[in-house]
Amino acid sequence: MLMITCPVCGAEGDETDFHCGGQAHISRPASTDPHNVSDDAQRDYLYIRNNPKGLHREMWMCARGCGKWFHAERDTVTLEFKSYYGITESAPPSSSPNPAASKTTKKKSAGR
């Protein structure tokens, strides 16, 4: 069970009281250059999501409190919500770089 505190109204609850909007900070390629969107970029935008072991930035909505969206950093190992920030804010600089994620990236690049 996830224990969530809404940073907007302070309502406390579990994941049934909130709605998860999935991975945060996905940029839409067509927003920057609508005439030159490669199929790969569009596919990544629509379907490719991170599945990190460790810190994950997500969008959540306080469905049974104030109805507002917010950003949260969640540890996927401990299911703990590490920090919250506003829905209009961009991703904060990572305070603790995720060792698990960087390891996977390294492996991938080595394989290529």
Binding site: D14, R64, C66
Partner: protein, 206 residues
């Protein structure tokens, strides 16, 4: 042409006798009209206009409400309030609000017939309602004036703690759910279905 006549969502239930073995008393509050009010608390013009029109300050604290005379203002969100007023007076209040708000970035709308209010009162009201929601209604923060939106019996609802002694809650549900919630309460509020496990427990005898 026949005149439009208001019929509350549970008016057909009025004639039915409630079961004798209910541990709370149930009633429909049909004489309240509701106005949905939206705007930003950061906008002093909006706050001043709304306060002047309603005659009562907007509750800024989450999960709170304010009352002045016939008018109750319930906190719904950081930028949304539900104003309840006796039926019949809502049009006057709404036009006063709209006039005062003018062209501030705000919104006021008569939603009187969107929701139905079910009043649950009695010593067991808290434990009966807790069967339908994850919110801890035994908590000391649930005191007169407390209000919050919740998932109640699997439907979206708002709950207001009206007064204690006896504990009285107003449950606001959408009109189309009124009959379902009424049936649900009739089923779970039976004396035989009373739950003793909420709140502080005596340690077991060893």
């Amino acid at each position: 042409m026949s005149d439009l006549q208001f019929r509350s969502a549970l008016s057909h239930r009025r004639d039915e006798d409630l079961p004798m073995d209910l541990c709370v008393s149930l009633d429909e509050v049909s004489d309240r009209a509701m106005i949905d009010l939206r705007g930003s608390l950061d906008d002093p013009k909006f706050v001043a206009a709304a306060t002047a029109a309603l005659g009562v300050a907007l509750p800024a604290q989450p999960r709170s409400s304010s009352v002045k005379g016939d008018i109750t203002v319930l906190w719904m969100s950081v930028d949304q309030w539900l104003v309840t007023t006796p039926r019949g007076s809502e049009q006057a209040l709404l036009s006063k609000l709209v006039k005062r708000l003018g062209n501030t970035f705000s919104f006021a709308c008569d939603v009187s017939d969107a929701r139905t209010i079910i009043r649950v009162s009695g010593g067991d009201a808290r434990s009966v309602l807790m069967k339908g929601t994850s919110v801890d209604l035994q908590s000391p923060v649930v005191k007169p004036g407390w209000v919050r939106r919740l998932l109640f019996a699997e439907v979206a609802a708002a709950c207001q703690f009206v007064h204690s002694d006896p504990d009285t809650f107003d449950v606001y549900v959408f009109r189309s759910y009124a009959d379902y919630v009424w049936e649900w309460l009739l089923a779970v509020a039976r004396k035989g279905a009373r739950v003793q496990l909420y709140g502080k427990q005596e340690p077991p005898l060893v």
